[in-house]
Amino acid sequence: MTPSKVIEREHLDELFGALARRGYTVVGPTIRERAIVYDEISSTADLPIGWTDEQDGGYYRLVRRDDDALFGYAVGPQSWKQYQLPAEVKLWQARVDERGALVNVVESPHETPRYAFLGARSCELHAIGILDRVLHGARHADRAESDRADDPFIVAVQCGVAGGTCFCVSMNTGPVADRGFDLALTEIVGDTAHHFVVELGSERGAEVLDDVRHRDAADDDRDAASSVHDRTAAQMGRELDTTDIRDLLYRNFQHPRWDEVAGRCLTCGNCTMVCPTCFCTTVEDVTDLQGEHVERHQRWDSCFTVDYSHIHGGSVRNSTRSRYRQWMTHKLATWWDQFDSSGCVGCGRCITWCPVGIDITEEARAIRESERSPSDAHH
């Protein structure tokens, strides 16, 4: 999308007002407990101004920048998944009568606030689309713009810095978002200048922008934005060769590398919690002591738990090896057969937030390279 407008830094707060007046609850990045998370925010003051993040396998630190960029960092442990598929939801509650029947069943309303996501990155837009398709099916994802009026309003931010574990370039999910947003901002921070080059992504995006002071973009602005995009693309911290990756993993279910990674994996499930596309949930019925009231709750689950694959007698995936293999082959391979795309968007969260720094790109590389020279298989 060609950038067509520019908002000066001092006018960006007007965007919050414009969204609030239209009934949107703005959620965006903010600092909590020394990490950048997503929460309700009401002005630019809530943003991590002047901060950046250092990320590597099992490593995340916030570090001060030498400027006042509003979006000068990559992604944190949370994703927009928590709004598409909340971590805990009460589905219904009921009284249980003397026959054991459910009476007075009250289903929880599906109403959620009308959200505006401020600061969504390209990889995240892809993740939102992938998760949308999982939850609602392919037809839902292909709806016309007019049918998307109830979807969250998205103000994307084109990344100005790539994280140490980012590999969106490898996954074809960034760093530049070209669709799936209402407005997209590229932050330009210099000695004298500080403004946002804006791309219009939809009619409602243009309509909101009309309520915010802005000017037309000039060629200089477009060039500056391009430079930022190119610079970010060149800074990727990781790489993943996706050539035939589905078949590569389908050929290698018995590869010794799975034993090797199993020696490191704690099956803690952090990766599934931080991954923006992991969607597994479980359901729990909670009763009071007399068994007269019952609530059914849905909450996130992880394929790393032993119980996840429980059948009569035990769990199908008992070993760490089988559970890590399940997660990684689902993400990179079987997702294609199930949903016609990769499950991975290259955000790097699973690498950063793994306590022992297991790196999905390194695991894929080890298996791929062992096919080129068989002797490497035993390293």
Partner: protein, 269 residues
């Protein structure tokens, strides 16, 4: 997805740990289903479990389940008495190819608790007997007192099923076969023409049974098995029942052998 309430109208103990429950919906509606499908069944608050429907698909006024009490949820279900209510969601899953098998000989191979999911297919086949060639039932169990539905075998025989039963071990009172089900396959002369086989039972039994059938000349395209995995939502959303790329609750539990075979070969998949 709120469950519907079904009252226990009849209850029978089949073996030491297996009960058959007949249920009727509080709403009065019949429960239409296809042979091979399952429901998510629960006693209030004790957790849902996937249980195959074991009743007659042409008598949907009653929903029949045959349940083995092996854990908290199934023990609670089996403890439900007349007049008590169980919650039901469903029916779910891909059914047995009863319709596709018309014109063929049909071989049903059941092991132990695998007979209940096949019983609706057996009843449907008998109800439309003229549409099929030979109908054969090979049923294996651990011992004579662990066999299910034995009181119906004579009726099924009379109406056109060739019934053979075998157990792993027995005393002198038993005058049926003793040995594994694959031996029955070897002794059953099957026409190399169209045989459709449907099997349900322990996964190990099914693997060896299918190998024996294929060795007898049955085309693998005509062999169907019913799989079990940790099904929770029943609608392909929660992810638990994945086996490779397939979701057992939605793509199964009944699978044509060639579709599921490659994934069964991989341990702990």
């Amino acid at each position: 997805m709120v469950p519907a309430s079904f009252e226990v109208v009849e209850k029978r103990q089949d073996t030491a740990d297996v009960w058959t429950l007949e249920l009727m919906a509080d709403s009065g509606e019949p429960f239409e289903f296809e042979p091979g499908q399952f429901t998510m069944l629960a006693a209030a608050g004790a957790g849902e479990v996937p249980i195959s429907i074991s009743g007659d698909p042409d008598k949907p006024e009653r929903l029949v389940h045959t349940v083995r009490a092996v854990g908290l949820a199934t023990e609670a279900i089996c403890a439900a008495e007349h007049g008590q209510v169980l919650s039901v969601r469903g029916p779910f899953g891909r059914p047995w190819p009863v319709h596709e098998a018309e014109g063929a000989d049909v071989l049903i191979a059941a092991g132990g608790i695998g007979l209940p999911p096949l019983r609706p297919a057996i009843l449907r086949l008998l109800a439309q007997r003229e549409r099929y060639g030979r109908l054969l039932l090979l049923y294996s169990g651990r011992s004579p007192d662990e066999l299910l539905f034995t009181d119906e075998f004579e009726d099924w025989s009379r109406r056109g099923f060739e019934v053979q039963v075998t157990v792993d071990a027995a005393g002198e009172d038993w005058d049926g076969h003793v040995g594994v089900v694959t031996r029955l396959v070897r002794h059953t002369k099957l026409e190399a023409g169209r045989v459709i086989a449907m099997s349900c039972g322990p996964e190990l039994m099914m693997r060896f049974l299918v190998a024996a059938l294929i060795e007898q000349g049955v085309s693998s395209d005509g062999v169907y098995i019913s799989m079990e995995r940790n099904m929770q939502c029943g609608i392909g959303r929660c992810g638990h029942c994945q086996l490779g790329p397939t979701l057992v609750c939605r793509d199964g539990p009944v699978y044509p052998w060639p579709e599921i075979n490659p994934w069964l070969a991989i341990r702990e998949l």
